[in-house]
Amino acid sequence: MVAMTDYAGSKLAWCPGCGNFGILSAVNKALVELNIEPHRVLMVSGIGQAGKLPHYTRCNILNMLHGRTLPAAAGAKIANPELIVIAVGGDGDGYGEGGNHFIHAMRRNHDITYLVHNNQVYGLTKGQASPTSDLGFVTKTTLRGATMPLNPLALAIACDASFVGRGFAGDVEHLANLIKMGITHKGFAFIDVLQPCVIFNRKNTYNWYRERVYKLEEETNYDPSNKAAAFNKAQEWGEQIPIGIIYRKQRPTFEEQLPALDKGPLVKQKIEIGRIEELLDEFL
């Protein structure tokens, strides 16, 4: 049996009270509850406070460039589909710098789980607006307030992501559950996590979120397989913020459509030089 101690990583460098702690607990809890040994997990992360998370666990770690988590996660998954690949990054990382990869990775439906620590601000670079900063949010680069935010959930649904969820760092139990569903989901599982940044975001605090979030599971007639309903649900922000699974749809993953993987992971396949002869002959 895998235990929480199996996932204990190096010394943490987040601020006391940061929402990231809750996310870290939830990730480890999910992995432990799924009884997944650390060596089977690959965490790919970006640059930012969120991107440090993998170092605080004990799985395999590929800490990428800012914004480039998803392509590397996809490349690693294709190379070795036996790995459980979890991509982790911030809102700036994923929706700003990495926006293009985000929409295309969802479209292709790579079989990975993607956690975005959405603190609605750039933490590591000290508090500039992020693509999800609320309209009018004042920072040193947006003195007259941030422009219209991106709606990552709506974007994901528009890209027909096969699993779209939202969690809250302040509810570890619920988040861990969501992550478990994401990991076991076949296909791209995208989870946006509301994450208080106690230093640079004095608006979207634990309390602010707590007063607003409600669980979709508790709404009896919500059907996450209905795209139109999901899109509407994704518009809710302000007074009421839904958490849970917003949208889910089964469709073929990118990896399962690759004939090369039928014989097992690429990383385990032998290099057969002999067979190249056939190719050379075609040029005669």
């Binding site: 640059i47 799985c59 770690i61 490349g75 293009n100 090369a260 990383v267 190249i276």
Partner: protein
């Protein structure tokens, strides 16, 4: 009497210039000839002007030559543009029923191409195949060989049959009508089998032979051909080829795959390479093996998309911020392209770093006959691997060793946490802030250059061992410069060539010595600033005395080089 004859097929995009030229080349290769062919085309799909040159020799050939012996003009523009390039007595084969007002130089041989194609194959669009047949008829080549190549190219079905009919019509027309006017004969000379392939096919074959299993790329001329070739073989050879949303994704995908333990590559051109340079540095600091092909074309920016240049050398050497070791290879010939691609993968894994292969549009899309690749010479060297079961010690991805190379483990193995970071990190791959670890890690990475340098094959001298003038080239210009050296040698000039195809780490000692042995020296480069000359000076302190530079997007010909060498007086 030795054979050395130049065909040129000219026409607009969409007229099938490329396939006529290729089939011509293939037919001669099948007859035992050596062939070199290159392509000139515009960045458009229909219209404009394209041409395809095929040089046929009975001895080795590695460059195009200047005067055209036989011009297959598929439209009037081809005559207007290329008449001036004809050899004395050169021939223009054209459709006199379509093209009128012909004048000027050349022996005009009119063949009713469209009419014949319409009559015999029921499709006037096959006039190009008729021209092909007509050309081969003119030189009395063996039709059977053409027949076979056409069948392979167009398939055995109706289209194939009709093309054969169209070709036959042209063939017979010239045989019957111009027997007396033209008596130059080209018959098959042997049935030696040689491959006919272009530079990017050679790269793709090299990659597959090297065990590359994952290719991610974004289309960009002239490198799309690599991706397309590999995609075509993906199913049979268990490759994954992924067309990504952009080049940034491509390089980061192969970094993911390289980290996970799979040989992976991408191919692009300058613009795309620009977008990859941050990833290049990431491969540097995470010590991830990757191979990047940069098929150069004239820049800056979009430049001339379908033409050739060698202007990314210094960029490739210094691309990405910060400092880390890399290797830069630039195949000199199509054969070289195969072998250096394999070497690229071996160096990448052995030294755990990015390797850049610099090709260019000229190399990419020129065809040449190649004796074949002896696969028993292919070695796969994956470098030092760590297996947790055997090693029984704590795994550290970036363990400091004397050589700078740390044993590699792949994620997924029990007992080895494989951790790495774009930030500076410690041996275990976790990010650090302290000065000592930083210093050690920089030294660890940079010291790999010591052994890496030993892997670099010294550039070879061509021509006399000692000469008054040494020409220096790199990459795809090799064939043209070699031939120029031959011509100058025959003219009793004392000239030789030092040609580099493994550029970094730079073989400074050999170059310095070769320069010392000559009275004058001259770089020959397809760029405007003389990048190799700059590099030579940076690495050896020596200044070359001359530079023959060409940056109009067109490749060198031997004759051009001969002229320039004489003009430069070097």
């Amino acid at each position: 009497m030795s054979v050395d004859i130049n065909f040129m097929v000219g026409g607009e995009a969409g007229q099938g210039v490329q396939s006529v030229g290729f089939i011509l080349a293939k037919s001669f290769a099948r007859g035992g000839y050596y062939v070199f062919a290159d392509q000139d085309y515009e960045s458009r799909i229909r219209g404009g002007h394209n041409f395809f040159r095929v040089r046929v020799k009975d001895t080795r050939v590695e460059a195009i030559a200047e005067p055209v012996d036989i011009l297959l003009a598929l439209n009037k523009e081809s005559i207007d543009l290329h008449q001036g390039e004809l050899a004395k007595g050169g021939i223009i084969l054209f459709d006199g029923e379509k093209i009128e007002d012909i004048s000027g130089d050349g022996n005009f041989f009119s063949v009713p191409l469209e009419r014949l194609a319409e009559e015999k194959a029921g499709n006037k669009l096959m006039a190009n195949t008729t021209a092909l047949g007509a050309a081969l008829g003119l030189v009395g080549y063996d039709f059977e060989l053409l027949d076979k190549v056409l069948r392979e190219h167009f398939g055995a079905g109706e289209i194939g049959e009709n093309n054969i009919k169209a070709a036959k019509a042209g063939y017979e027309y010239t045989r019957e009508n111009f027997k007396r006017d033209f008596d130059y004969r080209l018959s098959p000379i042997s049935d030696t089998k040689r491959m006919l392939l272009n530079g990017h096919e050679a790269v793709a074959l090299g990659a597959i032979a090297a065990g590359c299993k994952f290719m991610a790329g974004y289309p960009m001329t002239p490198s799309t051909s690599i991706m397309e070739y590999m995609a075509a073989k993906a199913k049979d050879f268990d490759l994954v080829v992924l067309q990504s949303e952009d080049e940034i994704a491509a390089i980061n995908m192969i970094i993911g795959a390289g980290y996970a333990g799979v040989r992976a590559m991408t191919a692009t051109s300058g613009s795309g390479f620009c977008l990859m340079v941050e990833g290049l540095g990431l491969a540097g600091i995470t010590e991830t093996p990757i191979v990047i092909v940069d098929g150069q074309r004239p820049g800056p920016a979009t430049g001339l998309p379908t033409r050739t240049e060698q202007s990314d050398l210094e960029f490739a050497l210094h691309a990405s911020h910060g400092e880390f070791p890399r290797a830069v290879l630039a195949p000199a010939t199509i054969e070289d392209a195969f072998w250096l691609t394999i070497k690229a993968f071996n160096l990448a894994e052995k030294y755990q770093l990015p390797v850049i292969v610099l090709t260019d549009q000229h190399l990419a899309s020129s065809y040449s006959t190649v004796g074949g690749f002896d696969l028993s010479n292919v070695t796969i060297d994956r470098g030092i691997l760590f297996s947790p079961e055997e090693a029984g010690e704590e795994y550290k991805r970036h363990r400091i060793t004397k050589s700078g190379v740390s044993p590699r483990a792949f994620p997924g193995q029990k007992g080895a946490q494989v951790a790495t970071d774009a930030d500076e990190h410690d041996e275990a791959g976790h990010l650090i802030e302290d000065a000592e670890t930083r210093t050690q890690m920089v030294q660890k990475r940079m010291c790999k250059l010591i052994d890496l340098k030993k892997e670099i094959a010294p550039p070879q001298l061509y021509g006399p061992r000692k000469a008054e003038t040494i020409l220096i080239g790199w990459g795809s210009t090799c064939g043209a410069i070699r031939e120029a050296v031959d011509i100058l040698g025959q003219e009793k000039a004392s000239v030789n060539l030092l040609h580099l195809s493994e550029l970094w780490p730079f073989p400074a000692e050999v170059v310095a010595e070769a320069l010392s042995n000559a009275r004058t020296s001259c770089v020959i480069e397809n760029n405007a600033t003389g990048q190799l000359a700059h590099l030579i000076r940076a690495e050896t302190g020596k200044e070359v005395s001359g530079k023959i530079l060409k940056y109009d997007g067109r490749p060198f010909t031997p004759a051009y080089i001969v002229r320039e060498v004489k003009k430069e007086g070097c």
